[in-house]
Symmetry: D2
Subunit: 154 residues, 4 copies
């Protein structure tokens, strides 16, 4: 689980904090959130990240882009329960020609509940890989905390 040890984004990178309140239908027979739902929570935070830092996901779709998941990894440290306010922090971990990786940290009441990574292709409507959309490409260095000019972040 080496790759998941770093459950915190680098200090200077843009991030989004999304709060999801656990629905009863997300719990399972163990009385906790079923682990598959955490993968959905990552999606909620990722969509919020793109919306906050670039454009709504619907805009990508209208422009003919999709950002399907090609790998996902979640580590579970503490169960989430019905009515918990799960705070999911999302940031960009890396980017290449036609792929992106996001990092995630999940907290409930300030306690680490889990963390995750998702890797994505960028594809067109037919599912063919394409280069990262221009609006996104122009922001990626900043999202990764690169080329900041003189560093000003704490």
């Amino acid at each position: 689980m080496q790759r998941l040890r770093l459950a915190l984004p680098p200090v200077s990178v843009p991030r989004t904090r999304y709060v999801h309140t656990v629905a009863f239908y997300e719990t399972d027979g163990m009385g906790i959130v079923h682990h598959s739902n955490h993968v959905r929570f990552l999606e909620l935070a990722r969509v919020a990240f793109l919306s906050e830092h670039d454009q709504p996901y619907t805009a990508y779709m209208e422009q003919g882009f999709h950002v399907p998941v090609i790998r996902v990894e979640v580590a579970y440290y503490r169960p989430c329960r019905f009515a918990d306010a799960v705070e999911i922090t999302c940031w960009l971990r890396g980017a290449r020609n036609a792929s992106l990786a996001f990092g995630y940290r999940l907290e409930v009441q300030g306690q680490l509940a889990g963390c995750g990574i998702s890797e994505h292709a960028i594809v067109d409507r037919e599912g063919r890989p394409v280069r990262i959309p221009p609006s996104m490409a122009g922001r990626i260095d900043r999202w990764l905390g690169r080329n900041e000019g003189p560093p000003t972040d704490p």
Copy 2:
């Protein structure tokens, strides 16, 4: 709940029995199948009905048809639990120009667990109502137990 009292199809109509084994992820914090999943179980049985008595749902889709739900109703008599083999019986209850209604009966180990009704429009790829597809139309009377000529069913 008058409409749901009849949890049995008429004797002579075609039906499909579909068995779904309850997954753990379908249970909720009460330790039983979350009630929204029964709506999905109806879909499983309906898709099986169309496949058995007409053609796979994928064939409708390739021909440009969709059969969206315009109303659904489920009555719950007994909880279903993890690993239960839920037997869903599906039959056609009625049909009009551009709509269909299916009936459902859910059983676990021979005991009535619930019943349901779903009503459907027939639409094209753009979501516009269309007439019932020919392959389906030719079978509907039989599916409803009509025009049987001399009755031969038990």
Copy 3:
């Protein structure tokens, strides 16, 4: 569908408006919200209603009560899509010894998207029917718009 025609609560009854933003994972291969998810949306609004007008659902659970669904009905008028803000209005439609019925209206951007009814038993941890919990019972007349002093409703 007679029972679902009344998609508006009586003027004077307490209600809760809950806004749910459609997640991508709630859409299906038709590009719209899968109809089973509307049943989950009703739950979100019902839980919010109880929390706003009585107590959090977790408090019922701690007191040993559950409010399982014994019947649900949804009518779909317009598809909901990814990123839509679905506004679900929930109110109490009726109550008897050990059961409750809620009504629901779903809107997207002011347009009616659907409506629903759910009926519930009140049960203890073992699933046995019990009388309506005291905190709830004391409020039910008001939730139904009854015992308001001189009647003023149309």
Copy 4:
């Protein structure tokens, strides 16, 4: 993604092949299975593995054991679509005092669709870690292809 490169179990270890036919409600607005559902497919295969090679998961539950997921990882190579028969092969990858790891390979019509790993704690009803249940412990070496005596497997 180094850890996921090995999408095949060692030749001699017990495995289970579970076939899941994709439901329409498992597809998303891209027209493919939503990636969170693959995590559920792993669960279906894991439950089938335990049932085939040890005992039904319900028996663990009755004995007071749960096997919650503490880490999951899925790589997606090809989208799965509605009505696809997804064949999930599951085997044990490793075991320690109170944890287990399973490997998975997903195929559709003989083509690799993805692979996965899940890591699990063994806990009691209160969620406290416990040692691996005896029925399982006695089989683990065999599940891992160890202590086979003179090798007889191909």
